[in-house]
Symmetry: C2
Subunit: 691 residues, 2 copies
Amino acid sequence: MGNNIEALLKPQSVVVVGASAQEGKVGNIILTQVVKGKFRVYAVNPKGGTACGLPLYASVRDLPEVPDLAVLALPAGPTLGAAQECIQLGVKAIVAIAGGFSETGDAGYALEQQLGNMLRGSQTRLLGPNTLGLLVPGIGLDTNFLPAEHMRRPDPGNIAILSQSGSIAVGEMDSNALTGVSISAFVGFGNRLDINENELMDYYAEDPGTDVLAMYLESFADPQGFLERCRRIVPHKPVILLKAGRSEAGARAVQLHTGSLAGSDRVTDGALRQAGVIRVYDPQELMDAARVLAFMPPIDDCRGAVLTNGGGFGIVASDFIESNRPGIGAKLAVLSEETKQKIASAALSFAAVRNPVDLTASLNNAMCDAALSALQEDAGVDIILFTLGFQPPAIDENLIDIIIHWARNGSKPMIVVPIGSDIVLKAMQKFNAAKVPAFTSIWRGVQAIDTLAKRGTMLRKLQAAQADPVETAGAVAPTLQPGAPVGEYEVKAALREVGVNVPRSIVLRPGEQLQAIPLNYPLVVKISSAEILHKTEQKGVLLGIRDRDELEKAVADMRSRFATGDILIEEMEGRGVEMIVGLVRDSTFGLAVMCGLGGTTAELYQDVSFRMVPITRRDADEMLRELKGHKLLEGFRGIQTDREGLIDLLVKISHFGEFYQDDILQMDLNPVIVQPERAVAVDAKILWTQG
Amino acid sequence: MGNNIEALLKPQSVVVVGASAQEGKVGNIILTQVVKGKFRVYAVNPKGGTACGLPLYASVRDLPEVPDLAVLALPAGPTLGAAQECIQLGVKAIVAIAGGFSETGDAGYALEQQLGNMLRGSQTRLLGPNTLGLLVPGIGLDTNFLPAEHMRRPDPGNIAILSQSGSIAVGEMDSNALTGVSISAFVGFGNRLDINENELMDYYAEDPGTDVLAMYLESFADPQGFLERCRRIVPHKPVILLKAGRSEAGARAVQLHTGSLAGSDRVTDGALRQAGVIRVYDPQELMDAARVLAFMPPIDDCRGAVLTNGGGFGIVASDFIESNRPGIGAKLAVLSEETKQKIASAALSFAAVRNPVDLTASLNNAMCDAALSALQEDAGVDIILFTLGFQPPAIDENLIDIIIHWARNGSKPMIVVPIGSDIVLKAMQKFNAAKVPAFTSIWRGVQAIDTLAKRGTMLRKLQAAQADPVETAGAVAPTLQPGAPVGEYEVKAALREVGVNVPRSIVLRPGEQLQAIPLNYPLVVKISSAEILHKTEQKGVLLGIRDRDELEKAVADMRSRFATGDILIEEMEGRGVEMIVGLVRDSTFGLAVMCGLGGTTAELYQDVSFRMVPITRRDADEMLRELKGHKLLEGFRGIQTDREGLIDLLVKISHFGEFYQDDILQMDLNPVIVQPERAVAVDAKILWTQG
């Protein structure tokens, strides 16, 4: 980095400004934690005296050294003076805890601007303001003003939590720490006046102690920068994101909370998928996904073997694995005869040795050992889910070690669902310490399978994509001038330039006479005018014109009803699957390609998918797969479609979007008819951002 | 009851047969629990001696009285002899713990049949075999062979758990008991040789100590009986069901587990909705739904107020409330100015007083009290969700009591989401003891809102339905003879008899000449034959016939291509929204009415809904609302449809199904065209169960 981020996250020396000897005060709670760290610690308070066994210096200037990191445990006002002093002294990094800045309105905003002005031109970096700060268990760095008896601190682990909200993160850390979930770091960046999520991602992407990035965001400091980093990091480490502010009310609350705008959630979803981000919706889900990815390798296929000691557990788990609503729509493994034989020879006669394998409430440690051994060796199994009720008499704590043995030393990933009370608390701690992913509900356990499968799918895709040719090579620039309103004829001409199929056509400018036309009947006659956006409603489209006679009548009719505008005469396209394709500008991420089933379907079933410009053929293929109605493009009821041609069209629309990156507000191709031999845009409109 | 069920569930005297002094043995674990009960206890073991301070009698015959209940803690074989003895003595009820019966194959099945034969003609009732049995905390009745140190027993409460799987139920009870969740009873009925879920439902429907029925089923002992009971019980007490075996693999495992067949899940879903059952998918969800319904009244509207001490919590909760994917698609309350004023005057200046209300990490008890008071008094709020991170310094255990005060004494239901570790364990115990629904993830808390809203909606519907007229009044019997194959003409004639609109038509029998016809052009000519099910594929339909000339040609053409069959000549119907309507026989529940969007949509989007015959107009209305594409029938893009006419048609198809209850295998009306003025069945087919 060379930008003092390291001084923030791995300081050699730390000062707490606003330190206090008085129990319950923020400056006392923070100092109490910080003194335990593996670095030199100083405390500042003009009142003097001592706190936590340290002398209280009057000022940062009086310290025997310039510390790497200053933690400002002060209200908003005094934070400014203290920050000024630190900057002047050359303190490398500051954590500004105080709220009362831009999140509270105009006065706070002005205060935050002042703080920003101080930082400008200096080498000092600032985390916050309005943040709980940091927790780096490996070096004992902890700036959270949360008393030890109110919040359990996690042990050192391999998950980095980067969060815009401190409360969400510490809440989940606390509840996870109860069962021994560990982390490499928590960084809350609050108002991110200086340091934002993107820089922190850069750091933890390179941090050898971090294997997974778990993030909570309400908005993006730099959306493009975020996506760019995800594309770079995801091949090496998973990025999991809880993006809050999806709903209208959520987005309103986001504005209150951090003063920034949330973009449209459906475009966000497409952008995140494209960048390889694993998206979650609840803080518990965030930590669950982080944990399974931190503990187990991804899976290439998803044939799950379910082991249980209670028939009902096995059935519910199987339902979740195989079903879609609710469920993950995966497959249950078909066990080999050998596997079944091995399990049967170790189990009681009334155990079920098919998948799900039910060892019944008579399970003992040896049966469990034999069954796990057999499942680990079955080539038809990709992952093992062990749902285990801890109630039966023969179960004891040694079973926990047997499970850990197979989960760590077997060749396949394993997920445990331990159900019970006191013994499960102990088991969870042991499982987490041994990096065995365990979850206390069946659904959470099955979701963990899905998370590993998603990660595996993504890595395979990324690997395959490396061999892909550069797709913009040979892309042709359209000659259309942006800004001025354009009619359908001009839009289609531009589309034709970039290689998008449009119907063969001629145009009649105002006053031009109808000559012999080089088109085949049946024809369509349309008014083509930038002023008329909804032609059909205004009867600006005449279909099914069968001969010269009808054509002349149609042209005359159009001219009688529309004073201005060109008349577009097109060959009428044959039938096919109707799609809608478009470009749409998102306030957060910029221009997105959109694709959906045409007619009323896209709207009725909300069946559309988005990706940010530019897209690859793989992206386009994924967009189509994402549609609930995707079967319609895959030979459904014998319907032939040029699916490859549609992918081609989507990529070309993306190229088109690239050429007009800042100019297009919205572009609709509706419908695109996907015929057996080609995909063709039958109607087309553009709205420019200005014009 | 008067059928000895009471002797099973509230015995005055209990004998444990197979009792043992040896620790770890099933007969010892059970006796250890049973001796604590509020009834007279005896123990039987031919070896003699004592166990748990009781003398071991050689036989049930030797006891000083005939006990109400005998718990057979014996293997499968000896269970038969002991049961025989109990039956002869007139013991009122038996719990047969042993596995090794019908769930294990032919030999076990024969053994179970023997047991059944013994019971026949006696007054003795039997629970099981293959069951953990009973847990009735109020009287200390506990037959679960699960050592106390392996399973926490819940305290007495108001939820009855009726479960086909013991393991699922005890697992959830154990983990719930850790946080003090209480129950009125758990009854595991295992192989339900005698007592099944329906009888137990009857009992707990009347039990004054039970407010909620929480059920786990893999199959239905008597599906019609189950639905009938739900319809009777649901107006008074909620019935929540986890129906496992939804997927193919799940259903396979069900067969292994209890030897019974699972029906099609989509029909099951329709049947359960119709009967007012709240359906869940995970055991944790089952207990969550039971708990919120046991603790809080249902809500009529769903305007939620979110209170929090961490901005992120509030945003995530709001997202879940307002969004659909994932979320419950409800509304956030708009707080009154007065409410905001009250909260603002108690909170710090930088608190957010809009909904979600964020008191920030500086929350203290007084602020919380003031905010809850204000929200409880706001007429625009239907329910309050308090997401509370327990980490901040000013929070202490007194806050728990403040929350309990407002949750119990406020006028509105409240749900708490406490996030943290040790203090949350304590808080959960206090909340459960005080009947305050609390859940340790935001998503579970929001789902609880949805559960109360679903219950409210259902009760309103049931109340409104009381005023409905009896709908089969005036229903006309069709004259069609079931069993024999029939062509379209005959099916439509029968539909016309029950009042379903079909196109005006005439039929030409083989050899009949075309006379003057009383129909308006355009016409459709179809072959009508029981042998030809897929007319369109065989070009058996000619559309758009405009005059007599074309009609004659069409008839001649049909006759030249089809050697047999009638020729149906119909008026061609105008355009409208195309639906598919039908009847389908489900192996579990019998005949169901089906409804979906027509064309490829129903199939592509799996957009169909089911209800069991007979349906009411309200059921039909719900079926339409359940379709994802329901907007198409509600004026979408200005399309006019006779939605009431479609409801009418659905009810008439249900009447039709009633007349042929046992005869119809399947019936398709595809399409039904819903025009602005009427809904009309344009094609119709019947398959009989026999014929």
